[in-house]
């Protein structure tokens, strides 16, 4: 199997994600520059965090028009697992692959801190190994991480079970404490917190096992584990 890590100009968590995929989960990962195309037989795609195009205009909005996004859309339709983390989530939202929008945090500041997530949907490509409502200690690091959906969309998200993660506390003013969502087919997931920063016990001061389940869920989905 092969997992693609997309690199946009300004991506800065690409190397961290690559390390986790290859060194921690022994996956065959490959970087793809945003101007290149993705092979049709790729098994999963990850859009890592960072500041694509320096967050100019609005986080993720320019990268959403990169040539490679066309391929990502095609793969999404085919049901290939696609994960967007932080800026990757912003790009997925801006490209229309995921619903909603990400706004400046309520504090108007960049926030870097450890938070707790609650798993609200445990059937997606990246959460199928979790208990429902399982807690995940995980760090956030963003300036535009406040998920927003209006009442109509929120109702829709709840009805279709598209809310994947909520913060256990009010962190940044996100609608309904939403930290991550998925598409209707549950193969495309976006989340603001950084699982790649939480899967190794050496750098996770609390508990690294829950975050690891995000990647283990992907392994199961791709049929390479257990």
């Amino acid at each position: 199997v092969k997992v693609g890590v997309i690199v946009f100009p300004g991506s800065n968590c690409d190397r961290d994600m690559y390390h986790v995929l290859t060194d921690v989960f022994n996956l065959d990962a490959q970087y793809f520059w945003h101007e290149k195309s993705l092979p049709k037989n790729i098994d999963a795609v990850i859009l890592p965090g960072g500041f694509s195009y320096g967050d100019r205009l609005r986080a993720g909005v320019i990268a959403a028009h990169s040539p490679i996004i066309k391929d990502v859309k095609k793969l999404a339709e085919k049901g290939i697992p696609i994960l967007g983390v932080c800026n990757g989530f912003q790009i997925l939202v801006e490209s229309g692959l995921l619903p909603g929008v990400l706004l400046k945090n309520e504090s108007l500041n960049f926030m870097c801190e450890w938070t707790n997530l609650i798993v609200e949907n445990n059937t997606t490509s990246f959460t199928n190994q979790f208990e429902l409502h399982q807690k995940i200690p995980i760090p956030i690091a963003n300036g535009e991480g406040r998920y927003y959906a209006d009442d109509v969309m929120l109702k829709q998200l709840k009805k279709k079970n598209q809310i994947v993660f909520r913060y256990s506390d009010v962190v940044n003013g996100s609608t309904d404490r939403i930290a991550g969502v998925c598409n209707e087919d549950e193969n495309v997931v976006g989340m603001m917190p950084h699982p790649e920063r939480a899967v190794e016990s050496e750098i996770n001061p609390i508990d690294n096992k829950p975050s690891s389940l995000i990647f283990e869920s992907l392994l199961v989905k791709m049929g390479v584990s257990n």
Binding site: N12, G50, F51, G54, N109, F110, A141, R197, I203
Partner: protein, 721 residues
């Protein structure tokens, strides 16, 4: 122009003619204090700069340490004081950018940033609050965008920085030894300018920074663009991997003038360049402006014709500009042309080496009486005093600051900000610990002992993580060096640092001197800021959660040295008294003892005792772990001390150790073996910070209340005044 009449006639006699206008611009930039270190260079040589791990190569802008397994760590410190005092966001941001490029120019990837920020009294002064808030935003905006974690630093407020700002940024790089750029060049090699466009920002910035801050010259402040810097980092590292770079230098103070002349001088070559080939932001820029512009995010690279093609294609991939602006010659001249017209033709050694000054120094008047202490009214309620200190801007938690910095990106941060020193994991299985420290209050009272104290404090911090200090960065910030009294304080600090560095065999691997830090209100207090890097071969001591009945020990004597303490200055508004001094042999013994007990794996945490003294250090442990303690003050080692001194003296060489009761015997045996002064002074229990003296309760403070105040007071002050 900053050249004085002596320097002008010196230049004329060296080149045997009148300089052209471009030559004057180039030399003024390069002979400025900022670029030439003309006042300090003679004396800086006293610092030990070699050591078993130090790798010295020509033309490096950062220090290089061999950390084993084929890997190196690079480090450098810079400040951006003048610009930050005028435009704090841009000044601080470009300060980050500059030091990052110094790390990059050695061929290493930047992996961490530290920031030391100093402002006026934010409790009273709205301007100071504005400067602080925006400088933090500037560091955050730049570092976060680059994806380089800002993992530590310090923030301090003092009246001496009124209407001013000290913004110090240190950076650490990491890479394979074999990938270090070995700066070299030969005739016919090409000189390439890579990165951002040269514009009209930062014109004369280095000269602006080499004078007192009297006007707000905003055009001298550079404009930050971290996105371009990020692209440059990736492009340069890709070029490094493909071995396309013969020599490299970042463009900082003095712009092209400085980068070209210093590269040529360091490599013993000449460079001929054409200003018309420089990619500029505006088409009508004058050649002189192009030569001294300090526009950011630019690198000077020497390569050859064959490698240029590959370099160009890398730049194309990242959509960054790459212009061949000149070539290498053998005549050791710096020749600047526009088309066929020669604008400047100067010997590179003349440009790059200003005549060094030997400035007079004189014992300052103010020091003659400063150690006299005043008698204060005795404190009736120490709980209240302690609470007041915990809420004070210098002691309150800096979470509002580092919470805005991405300190996790890069997934190396093992010990995170908010502790003594931060620790990064390295690819060779080892760990790097680092910290920067300054203390202008101590340094004002005794420039020598104060500077030594900063150095020792930074060492204590890295020792608390289990690291052995392996290198030091010094950043010496003072007022106008032409004032002999100020220059005396500079020399005293430098001598103190030198003595400590030699005794402990910690080489100085890099540094910076920043002079003329004054406003119309006068000079700043002497502010050396010291960074220390420590290496951990095995595992770092990551602070573990303290629980009920865990014990507390202190190593090191508490002495009657209250001068410059937060207690004197913040509570009693008194500047004076005897400031803490470091006993070198005691300091070394204590350091080794702490490393020994960490090595024995019997500690939960080790914490350094510094600002605010013993009372604050113990409170910090309680507040971070949300647990109370019961501590007997009369057990504190160091002879007979009154309550004020026991609680608030800022004596050096002291460490607080926490451990499980079952390890008590082992700890005592190890500490006795190390022959250090130590005492088991209490334990953790309940939900109150309790200090007792005999049967008297001295402090009795609820931890939750203290913690809330300590965590929120800085934020509240910034947001609501």
């Amino acid at each position: 122009l900053s050249l004085d009449s002596n320097e002008l006639s010196e230049l004329k006699s060296k080149i045997g003619r009148n300089p052209t206008s471009t030559e004057l611009q180039i030399v003024s930039a390069e002979w400025s204090e900022h670029c030439s270190y003309k006042s300090s260079k003679k004396h800086l040589k006293m610092l030990p700069m070699t050591g078993a791990l130090v790798i010295n190569e020509k033309g490096y802008d950062s220090g290089v340490l061999d950390v084993g397994g084929g890997y190196v760590v690079t480090a450098h410190i810079e400040s951006h004081n003048h610009p930050s005092a005028v435009e704090p966001f841009g000044g601080a941001a470009t300060g980050v950018g500059g030091v990052i490029r110094d790390i990059l120019s050695a061929g290493t990837r930047p992996i961490a940033i530290f920031d030391g920020l100093r402002f006026g009294n934010i409790e009273k002064d709205q301007q100071a609050r504005w400067l602080f808030k925006n400088a933090v935003s500037g560091v955050a905006a730049y570092g976060n965008c680059l994806g380089i974690p800002t993992i530590g630093g310090e923030v301090e407020f003092d009246d001496c920085y009124r209407n001013y700002a000290l913004v110090d940024v240190a950076a650490i790089g990491f890479g394979k030894k074999e990938n270090l750029i070995k700066n070299h060049a030969k005739k016919g090699d090409l000189v390439v300018l890579l990165g951002g466009f040269t514009g009209r920002d930062g014109i004369g910035g280095s000269q602006f920074a080499s004078d007192s801050l009297e006007s707000e010259d905003r055009s001298a402040v550079q404009i930050p663009d971290p996105f371009i810097e990020k692209l440059i980092i990736e492009a340069v590292l890709e070029a490094r991997n493909e071995k396309l770079i013969h020599a490299m230098k970042d463009l900082g103070g003095g712009g092209l003038s400085c980068a070209v002349s210093e590269t040529a001088d360091a490599l013993d070559i000449g460079i001929e360049m054409d200003v018309g080939k420089v990619h500029t932001r505006e088409s009508d820029m004058h050649p002189d402006e192009i030569m001294v512009s300090e526009s950011q995010e630019r690198m000077l690279i020497v390569t050859d014709k064959i490698k240029l093609k590959k370099l160009e294609s890398i730049c194309k991939k990242f959509h960054i500009e790459c212009s061949v602006i000149g070539h290498v010659t053998t005549d050791n001249q710096m020749r600047v042309k526009k088309g066929t017209k020669t604008l400047a033709n100067l010997p590179t050694d003349v440009v790059a080496n200003a005549t060094l000054l030997d400035l007079p120094s004189k014992y300052p008047e103010y020091l003659k009486t400063i150690e006299n202490e005043k008698k204060f009214k005795s404190i009736s309620d120490y709980s209240k005093t302690l609470m007041k200190l915990l809420a004070s801007p210098n002691i309150a938690s800096k979470i509002w600051v580092y919470g805005q910095y991405d300190h996790e990106v890069g997934i190396r941060t093992v010990v995170k900000p908010g502790n003594d020193a931060s620790v990064l994991r390295l690819d060779n299985g080892k760990f790097l610990s680092a910290k920067i420290d300054g203390n202008p209050k101590h340094c004002y009272i005794n420039p020598r002992e104060g500077a030594i104290g900063c150095f020792e404090e930074a060492c204590r911090n890295v020792v608390c993580t289990g690291a052995k200090p392996i290198g030091m960065l010094d950043h010496l910030q003072f007022g106008n060096p032409k004032d002999p009294e100020i220059f005396w304080t500079f020399l005293e600090s430098l001598k103190g640092l030198t003595d400590f560095a030699k005794y402990f065999e910690i080489p100085c691997i890099g540094g910076k001197v920043s002079l003329y830090n004054e406003t119309s209100a006068g000079p700043i207090k002497p502010t050396p800021v010291i960074g220390v890097l420590g290496l951990i071969d095995k595992k770092p001591l990551v602070p573990q959660k303290i629980s009920e009945n865990d014990c507390l020990a202190i190593i090191g004597d508490t002495k009657d040295e209250m001068g410059g303490s937060e207690y004197f200055e913040y509570i009693h508004k008194f500047i004076g008294g005897k400031c803490p001094t470091v006993d070198f042999s005691e300091s070394k013994k204590n350091m080794n003892a702490v490393l020994d007990v960490i090595d024995a794996k019997i500690l939960k945490s080790a914490h350094d005792c510094s600002k605010g003294g013993f009372a604050v250090a113990v409170s910090e442990l309680c507040m971070q772990n949300m647990i109370g303690c019961k501590v007997s003050l009369e057990k504190i080692p160091g002879g007979k001390l009154d309550i004020d001194r026991a609680l608030f003296s800022e004596s050096h060489s002291r460490y607080l150790l926490t451990f499980e009761k079952k390890n008590l015997k082992k700890l005592e045996i190890l500490l006795k073996k190390n022959k250090v002064s130590f005492e088991i002074i209490g334990h953790f229990e309940g939900d109150k910070i309790q200090f007792v003296s005999g049967t008297n309760s001295i402090v009795d403070l609820r931890v939750d209340k203290a913690q809330k105040t300590w965590l929120n007071s800085l934020r509240d002050l910034v947001l609501h005044g």
